[in-house]
């Protein structure tokens, strides 16, 4: 039986701030193991990496999905912003030349068409400072990790309250 909430961290930790989603999912998993996340047994924490279309399958059968991703949103670097898919429009242009081009918003479209999409989908976008070949975050984003975790925990506590 699929856990009712899935929290997915997206990105590539080899590309500096691009990996923020994966870094945060690792931290959340630790907090869950330490018992610091209420109802963590109902939540699956998932390192989505750059798996793209594979996410279609882990989204299926959930009630809620929380997606954490590096996002160019036109905000200050380091900003974390909560939004739902209907609040944004992608300005990413895909040439559709390769399987490796992924737009998670399109994956959600397909999921919806198949009738498998969680009823609640929430994004946490984090504006990057540096996208380059490096296996660590920029100091700016690194320093904000506690703030990001607090924001995410607030969301998850909200889910837990609603669930119980």
């Amino acid at each position: 039986m699929a856990k009712e909430t899935i929290v997915i961290g997206l990105g590539n930790p080899l590309m500096a701030d691009e990996g923020i989603g994966v870094v945060l999912i690792e931290r959340l998993e630790i907090l869950a193991r330490e018992g610091k996340i209420p109802n963590a047994d109902r939540i699956r924490f998932y390192d989505g990496g750059t798996g793209g279309m594979n996410l279609l399958h882990v989204l299926a059968g959930r009630r809620k999905a929380v997606l954490i991703d590096c996002a160019r949103m036109g905000t200050e670097p380091g900003t974390i912003r909560r939004f739902t898919p209907d609040q944004v429009q992608t300005i990413k242009q895909l040439a559709h030349l390769s399987l490796h081009e992924v737009d998670i918003l399109k994956v959600l479209d397909i999921s919806r068409q198949l009738g498998e999409c969680p009823e609640e989908v929430v994004f946490f976008g984090i504006e990057p400072l540096e996208i380059r070949q490096r296996m660590s975050l920029s100091p700016l984003l690194h320093a904000q990790i506690p703030h990001y975790l607090q924001t995410l925990l607030k969301e998850l506590s909200l889910s837990s309250n609603l669930d119980s």
């Binding site: 990496g49 793209g52 030349l97 081009e101 070949q133």
Partner: protein, 435 residues
């Protein structure tokens, strides 16, 4: 119609791994016809330098979200070669089973999500869900099963965690393998149905041919349609070359139109991928794999790059069929918990496996503490770049009568047929707020 054509498909949404199609035709004369790949080269090699032998796999698995198992396997084999490690028959079989899952995963994804929309005249898989719902559902089911299969063997769908030089950190139970086998048996009719649907629109694939050298692994002892063992061979009759000598096959060179290195062996270019494997090993496909190839009239010696998609379908059927047998062998022998002990040493080693999109090479050198001091990775898509260019040079004059839109679409389909790994090392959202 074709007097003046300007095509500029610029894949500008990524920082890494763009692929641009540029064509200028003036008064019926082709002035420019290029496959441009402005990719930042070789950065993963720099990242693994200084890392321990048991860290490398975790890092390189992030090179690609689609072929992460393949990168991990090539890397693990290279480390084992450098450190002089032998793996057990059980480890070998489990890794091959893991690798098959990625072939099914990637091939169904490619044919279903990227090629089928072309054949059905849709821009992407999104509208295809409404147009051909049954076919899309079957494709998604096959892809989902492949993902669960990867989860079981690799520990997760992408970026595997069960591989370690010398062995495996976790193995499935006999019951889990039995369940997987049952699922694979059940998926066979769906795979056949997917092939039949693609076959019904296969006449929309251009009948374009260009004599090409095809490079892949070949395993002679025992003869196997291999993705994992063997030496490097050419459809022109050369090889097998030992995988440690892969650099003498790839002959990487710099092209002015690309920052990604290009490759050539006996001709100006060569191709890798499912069609290359089929051309070198097609007679060794499983019965169902052969049946799929026959359905489409795919025969060894085919040099129509669009038929790579058909070879992928044949391979999808093949890996399912041979995995059912492989699970029987594993269960008959009985699963054992095997401990791995590794003593680092200085050395150089190479690993080579077939990614879904073609042959992949990793080479590392380690100092006596087991720290990586040099790395060289050659991905399949880079090996195909020169061949895509050569295809373009024949394709454009033959198809320019289609006009700008028709020609551009044909060229995009041609690039897609190679199933290129135009790097997924970055993927981020790029959004504007509407509410």
């Amino acid at each position: 119609m074709s007097a003046n054509i300007q095509i500029n498909v610029h894949h500008v949404t990524r920082l890494e791994g763009h692929g641009n199609i540029v064509v200028n035709i003036r008064n019926g004369t082709i002035e420019k016809c290029q496959w441009q790949v402005p990719e930042a080269p070789r950065f993963f090699e720099a990242m693994v330098r200084g890392r321990r032998w048991d860290d490398i796999q975790t890092i390189v698995s992030r090179i690609c979200g689609i072929c992460s198992i393949t990168h991990s396997l090539a890397s693990t084999k290279a480390v084992e070669d450098a450190l002089g490690l032998q793996v057990t028959e059980q480890t070998d079989m489990l890794r091959i089973l893991m690798h098959y899952s990625e072939q099914l995963q990637s091939h169904t994804l490619h044919v279903g999500y990227l090629v089928a929309p072309d054949l059905f005249g849709e821009k992407s898989v999104v509208p295809l869900v409404a147009k051909a719902p049954d076919a899309v559902k079957k494709i998604i089911k096959a892809h989902r099963i492949a993902n669960q299969w990867s989860d079981l063997l690799a520990g997760r769908t992408t970026h595997p965690v069960t591989l370690t030089p010398g062995g495996m950190t976790k193995i499935p139970t006999a019951q889990e393998l039995k369940d997987l086998q049952k699922t694979l048996k059940e998926i066979v009719p769906d795979l056949v149905a997917i092939c039949e649907v693609v076959h019904s629109v296969a006449d929309r694939m251009p009948a374009f041919e260009r004599p090409t050298e095809y490079i892949s692994l070949r395993q002679d002892n025992p003869p196997t349609y291999t993705f994992y063992h063997g030496g490097i061979v050419s459809s022109d009759g050369y090889g097998p070359v030992h995988i440690r000598d892969w650099e003498s096959v790839a002959n990487e060179y710099v092209s002015p139109q690309s920052t990604a290195k290009w490759c050539r062996w006996h001709r100006d270019s060569y191709a890798v991928g499912a069609l290359a494997r089929f051309n070198n090993n097609g007679h060794l496909l499983s019965p169902l794999g052969k049946k799929v190839a026959d359905m489409f009239g795919l025969k060894k010696g085919c040099c129509n790059p669009f038929m790579n998609n058909v070879a992928q379908l044949a391979e999808a059927a093949h890996v399912v069929e041979v995995s059912i047998e492989l699970i029987d062998k594993l269960l008959t022998k009985g699963l054992k918990d095997e401990k791995v002990k590794v003593t680092p040493r200085a050395g150089r080693g190479s690993g080579c496996v077939e990614a879904p999109r073609g042959i992949l090479f990793h080479t590392y050198e380690f100092n006596k503490k087991g720290e990586c001091i040099a790395a060289n990775i050659c991905i399949p898509t880079n090996q195909n770049h020169a061949n895509i260019q050569k295809d373009f040079e024949k394709f454009v004059p033959e198809y320019m009568h289609l006009g700008e839109d028709g020609l551009r679409h044909g060229m995009e389909m041609l690039v897609r047929s190679y199933d290129p790994c135009i790097s997924c090392s970055t993927h981020m959202l790029n959004v504007t707020f509407v509410k």
